[in-house]
């Protein structure tokens, strides 16, 4: 899968589109669509399960082949903003999933894990999947 196959997120880096409205008394409410909330909930549940069940595992193959991680990969591009958010927050082992979903590897040859994380975060910003701040 090449770069041209990515659909830029024009609306921002969040997977969920939020409808906001002002109501009397100065209260502002927002509503996230059920479908998008479900994607995020599914991701959080799988990510938590994966982290918990692989936290003592040093083999990247075994960690990446865990069923929860594979299900996240199976979520495809919908998962990219969520993975990017998680990568930014935890700097954890999301490189395999990002590579599997996008078919790209923006990290330089021979780089360390930390350098690869930085490269992916830059890639996420460039492609509209991550916030620049």
């Amino acid at each position: 899968m090449g770069d041209e196959e990515h659909i830029p997120r024009q609306e921002g880096y969040h997977a969920a589109s939020t409808v906001e409205a002002d109501i009397p008394n100065g209260i502002r409410i927002s509503h996230v669509s059920t479908e998008q909330q479900t994607v995020e909930q599914k991701f959080r549940r799988l990510a938590d399960q994966w982290r918990k069940e692989t936290r003592l595992q040093s083999s990247i193959n075994k960690r990446a082949m865990h069923s929860a991680y594979q299900q996240i990969i199976g979520m495809g591009q919908d998962a990219l903003p969520l993975i990017m958010e998680e990568l930014k927050r935890t700097r954890g082992h999301w490189l395999w999933a990002l590579f599997a979903i996008t078919g790209e590897d923006p990290a330089p040859e021979g780089c360390t894990f930390s350098e690869a994380v930085d490269a992916w975060l830059r890639w996420g910003i460039q492609h509209g999947y991550a916030s620049p701040d």
Binding site: T54, L56, G92
Partner: protein, 170 residues
């Protein structure tokens, strides 16, 4: 040999116990008996293989797909077998040996194997205590090798040694 306090309430755990401490003793029931303490916060940057070779900057692992950001010594077998782990340590001067006893001027590492697959490697410090990096989790020191024996890491199968090349303990 300096002995560590037993369990998570010993003198080496001066702060409030981290929730992970409790989980570790659930994952490794022998830890509490052995005596242990945490020596670092969790880190995704390096793993047990790297740590056993004094490297805290890289995650040593071959990848079934070639995702960049992981290190594996060039030219070595690329798989998750005991033999390939042994190979990694052989090119860094280690050779197989029979005893885990503390020897002056000798550094030892031990590979834990579960169902024929390597799960973990730990390194012996100069005082005889063992130091481990647990996956992406924290580093710990543990008095005995039995501390990590169990369902997660299996049992001690391979012992290797080399002359100590550094006084570094991390």
């Amino acid at each position: 040999m300096k002995q560590l306090m037993r369990g998570s309430g010993g003198e080496y755990n001066t702060a409030m116990p981290h929730p992970i401490d409790y989980n570790l003793e659930e994952d490794f029931p022998n830890l509490a008996v052995s005596g242990w303490h945490k020596t670092s916060e969790p880190s995704d940057v390096y793993n047990c293989i790297a740590f056993s070779l004094h490297d805290t900057q890289q995650w040593w692992a071959y990848g079934a797909i070639r995702v960049r950001g992981y290190y594996w010594p060039p030219g070595l077998t690329r798989d998750d077998t005991v033999e390939s782990w042994i190979e990694v340590f052989e090119i860094h001067g280690f050779q197989r040996c029979l005893t885990t006893d503390l020897e002056q001027g000798i550094e030892k590492v031990v590979i834990y194997v579960n169902r024929g697959e390597p799960q973990h490697i730990t390194r012996q410090l100069e005082n005889g205590i063992w130091i481990s990096k647990l996956g992406p989790d924290e580093d710990i020191e543990h008095n005995t090798l039995e501390a990590l024996v169990g369902d997660k890491y299996g049992k001690v199968e391979i012992i290797m040694k080399r002359p100590r090349v550094s006084k570094a303990t991390s």
